[in-house]
Amino acid sequence: MLEPEITICVADPNPRVRELLRREFSSLGCTVILARTSQEVVEACLSSSPPDLVVVDPELSCADSDPILTRISMFMPKLPVVLHAFPGEALNHPAAHKAAAILEKGESTNRLKDVVFRILNERDVVTRTNKWKRKDITAE
């Protein structure tokens, strides 16, 4: 029987950032889905193996006028979303209150991983999968 995995969707317009986050989360044993547009995020959410958490930049290109957070909350209201935004923009984002956490982009990825772990832990995902230990982050 296969062990269930943690799946994280990383949505960022910058491919370098996407790749960096993919590498960081993969190194922790997570499955990472990369999304370039909000449509890809929605598709990932509606797929047979939806992500356990989404890390999203609010500047992600959106096909319609709805912010990405609104669209995600529309399709998967219980899916935790971490807003990974530029300083200042995160505070001013209109859908910021819907995010599980807001983090400033450009900081060390350790803090991002720490926050993601805390959220997943709160929602019993880490315990359930037993794949991601606190030490995995703090050891780095």
Binding site: N14, R16, V17, E24
Partner: protein, 489 residues
Amino acid sequence: MGAYLSLRTKIFLLLAGLVGVNCVGAASTLWYTYSTQKLYKIELSRGISSLIAAQDLETALIMQKGYTTYFFLDGDIQWLESLKEHQLGFRVGMERAENAASSEREKQVLQKISDSYIKFSIQREVVIELYKEGNEKAGAAKHWEVRKQFHVIYTFCEEYKQIQENRIDLAHEAYRHRGRVLAGFSLVAVFLAVICGFLLGFLIYQEILEPLRRLARLGGEGPKRKGVGNEVQALGNRFDSLLQDVDQAHMELEQSREHLIQAEKLAMVGKLSAGVAHSIRNPLTSVKMRLFSLERSLDLNDIQREDFEVISEEIGHLNTIVGNFLEFARPPRLRTQRTSLSEVVDMTLQLAQHRLESYGVEAIVQRKLKLPSLIADPDQLKEFLMNLIMNACEAMGDGGKLFIKEESADIKGLGPCATLRICDTGPGIPPNIAPKVFEPFFSSKEEGTGLGLSIASRIITEHGGILRMEHEEGMGACFYAILPLKEEE
């Protein structure tokens, strides 16, 4: 109706009325006087002529009676010659009277005189013949009948004379009556002229002179003057002054237009710059994140680590400059909602917790009661507060305290307000740079962008509030923000 007429029409109508009343009055008076005089002249001359004729008739009759009596007394034929002359005079008088007679009654009386005189003349001729024949007794007896006839003629002449006197009296009466009518007419004309003149004067005063006076009083500098002397001259001076103002305004408008063009150019440059800054920030963020990643795996000596840290810090600085620039270039647009400043303070402190901890700063909120809600953009207020918090953290550097005091106050000119006093225990702002702290791109820090306080000030101004710097004893920098508790529009 007067309200629908223009001032020009009103003045024109009143002037026309005034001229009309005067012209009609004068023309009527002239005509009436002329016609009255003419009538009076005709009636009077005719009456006097008839009266003279009547008088002549009486005189001729009396003279005839006298000469006849003289003849009867001395029988001198010479008296009869004189009698003939007066007979001729009587006829001439009768002709004049008949010519002057205009009424039926005059004609009837004249006819009676004429008939009686013929009868009288025949009887008198009979008596004269009797006296010539020497039959004095028969002549004297007949003479009494002639005398009776004389009295009859005389009575008719008197009646005719009375008619002429009455006629003259009537002419006098008619003249007086016409005089009274003319006086009444003149009085009405004068009354109308006075009313028209008064109305015209009132209109000119009310609609022209008084506005002119008010305009003239407005002219010039300083308080209103009581007397303006010649209003038109004062208005002329005022008009000259206005023309100068117009020239000045025109010049300023030209300058404003040039400034506007310049501002549009600058706005375009700003927009382009914002686009460039936005494009720069994406790769810069990626570089920063990669550096953090690289730092974990590299085994650097001290010099390499120092270089690495400087590179990281400079990239961080660049990122801050770009971020602040983008925030400063953001067009002013508030997404207002009913919110409490106390909640904004709590949320901002929650968001800034990591930063506060990293700077070793303790935030102390001084709150008696939660501030009443106001209409504001909570995200912008968070941005404002975050800027002040970051400013305080950077100023204190190595730990300190940040006091945030919340109060409600009634501020003159703004009404009921929510206020925030944010003070730190840092070194404070030197007095020489205090006036410039809100200017964009002014910074006393080597690595400051000079936009944090400028953005904070702009956010408060956009909310209709005031942000000012204050000095508080025992404190470092102190900022006082006032936000009006205005009702939703």
